[in-house]
């Protein structure tokens, strides 16, 4: 088996995540789809590291994980605040910056 199959899988997962972001209306699920896309990118990075035989790709995946963790913390805090003020987690209701 050629490791490029991992890249195909990564592309597939990224596409599914992107389609999910476009399709779903629940902010939490949209956020989960973003996480799926980030994970797919990480898989591509790790595979590239193996293809090239050095660890730089893994370092990039590591930084992506750190940034994703920070992003999740802030994003979920925003969702909770939004839910408090509007009693809804639908992205359709988020049309104004302020209530």
């Amino acid at each position: 088996m050629n490791p490029i199959n991992y890249l195909y899988l990564s592309a597939l997962l990224f596409t599914i995540g992107g389609a999910g972001v476009l399709i779903r209306r629940n902010a939490i699920i949209v956020f989960m789809c973003v996480e799926l896309m980030l994970n797919a990118c990480n898989l591509a990075f790790v595979t590239f590291a193996r293809l090239h035989g050095n660890l730089d790709g893994q370092i990039f995946a590591f930084f992506t994980m750190v940034v994703a963790a920070a992003e999740v913390v802030v994003g979920l805090a925003i969702i909770v605040t939004f839910f408090r003020s509007r009693h809804s987690a639908s992205v359709d209701d988020a049309s104004l910056m302020k209530l």
Binding site: M32, N42, S90
Partner: protein
Amino acid sequence: MTTSTGEAVQFWLLGIVAVLGALGTVAMKKAVHSALSLAGTMIILAVFYLANGAYFLGVVQIVVYTGAIMMLFLFVVMLVGITAADSLRETIRGQRWMAALVGIGFGVLLIAGLGNASVHSFTGLGQANSGGNVEGLARLIFTTYVWAFEITGALLITAAVGAMVLTHRERTERAATQRELAERRVREGAQVPPLPAPGVYARHNAVDIPGLLPDGTPAELSVSKTLRARGQIRDVSGEALESLRELEQRSERHAEGEGESGPAPANGANSANGANSANGAAK
């Protein structure tokens, strides 16, 4: 260098499950089910990292992603939970189909682009991992990427402070005391006495069963607000009337069987009974 057969088998088995998990994340109606599907996909990705020689990242993926991030997601789903049902109504007409089409188009482009790449041989991580994967990563992080690493620390601190600022809520006014609440109720004139208790004494005393008003209709106020919002009220008012009717029928039948002076049955199913009543009429 090529991969082993075992790795190929593992890839095809787990790859299919990973794609199914990703599809489940998008397609599941409830946010909890989506989160669980995503957690499954992430665990499989951790296995793939391990297979690709990224031992440190494989463990970090399980600890940080499935351990911390997905639990945070589940926590928020529980917090936002009940009323956050996804509306299936489309606000833009045909948006779902268009989005699916765009997704498929994007995927075809991406995969076709990958198909053009000529990757016939690969280097493998044998040499890079020779001194240990964690040691190799540490050497890179603290030499070449040390500036990015420092910036990441600042980012994490900012994110933690940001989350606290966003979710913290200062109480701007004093909480009303019990006396003030009582006075307000009297002033407004709405529901001065305590709320009615739930349950129907003779049969049910569960909290999700509304008490019945004198005319037999359920008193919505006797059930807690949360249960009302969830629509989890068990209405037994119809049941009570039904059983009352049943009781009446039964007592009627009982009276018929006992008292022989009752009116003759119209259908005359029981011939002996019919003869009896005919006798009575003749007398």
